[in-house]
Point group: C2
């Protein structure tokens, strides 16, 4: 930094607080109405900043969405193993955490549904997200397969896709009926039905 | 009809064709950008009708979305049993049909994700849709439970939610990776892993 009076946006303590407030509001708006339905003016108004001030932090709606997703990634990191993968046990633990954050599930559902369109700014992000989770879950499931503990007919990859798929679909159902849907418990039932060794044992091996 | 010159919109042969064309275009737009991102002008422009002409058929965007969903319901009907319910076999057969209609899956994903918000015009529609599919699937699964054919730990309702959840999540994955995701085959594996009688036998009993 050659000129200390020109501190990058969001690096001063006040700037950091404002940036976080913008990301919180944006998470809510993107989760409710999606990228295409969201307006920067609406987000600015929720935070109590001017439209111009918001654009100083995030010049475009696309950049704001990607910043919201990347902040979420930082929070996901504690579920990762040393190689940046995720075990089945950690995926279920993530489902347990998510119940405390309906806004995060709303955002995830909306953004992943919108981003199936290859022109959506988060398309590559979600395509890579699915590929990476499925690849690392498959590695854990391969250990079960190698020990003959994967139920007949399942492959590690099909099982990985099935577990993640059920998690996504149950989280959506949960937003409609929070009393009757138990995401993590149902995922544990699924794992027990297709793998004949305990999940913890698989993760630790 | 007291005045034969005033035929209701969409009842003349030309009107029916135009109405269908509007619904087709609307399905595509709602599937891409959602209700909140969709514009009636964009839909009118895709059909090649004026904005005013479109509003003559569907005065509001909400009404147009609900008309798209209701038309889809008519096509779903062949999967229903006499009581308006759906068996597990028919749910899987629906998943097989859907592979030929990615636009329908896109619309379903987008609209069901947006409509978790209780103020969305399709909120009641999707809440009832899930409730009804789960209730009728549960009835079929109860037959398996009554015969001791449901794997230990599963209840008919949990199994019904799990099957529908996996279908929804896998359909989303399929939109990202059409080569590697096999929705119907994976659902059949799930059913085989939690029920010890063939699906057909269950549906027919």
């Amino acid at each position: 930094m050659t000129n200390p009076t020109r501190v990058p946006t969001g690096r001063t303590p006040k700037g950091v607080v404002k940036r976080e407030a913008i990301l919180d509001a944006a998470l809510g708006v993107f989760g409710e109405v999606g990228l295409h339905g969201a307006s920067l003016r609406e987000i600015a108004s929720r935070v109590g900043v001017s439209h111009q001030s918001l654009m100083h932090y995030f010049p475009t709606k696309n950049e704001l969405l990607m910043a919201v997703l990347r902040r979420r990634d930082e929070r996901l990191r504690r579920h990762f193993d040393d190689e940046g993968g995720m075990s089945i046990g950690e995926l279920i633990s993530l489902a347990e955490d998510n119940v405390g954050m309906p806004g995060v599930i709303e955002l995830y559902n909306m953004a992943s549904a919108e981003a199936t369109n290859s022109e959506h700014p988060a398309h590559a992000y979600y395509a890579e997200f699915y590929e990476s989770i499925i690849a690392s879950n498959s590695r854990y499931l391969k250990r079960a397969a190698d020990r003959g503990a994967l139920r007949e007919g399942w492959t590690p990859e099909t099982a990985a896709r099935a577990i993640l798929g059920m998690m996504d679909g149950l989280q959506l159902q949960w937003l409609y009926d929070r009393d009757d849907v138990r995401v993590a418990e149902t995922l544990k039932m699924l794992v027990r039905s297709i793998i004949s060794v305990p999940i913890d044992e698989l993760d630790a091996s």
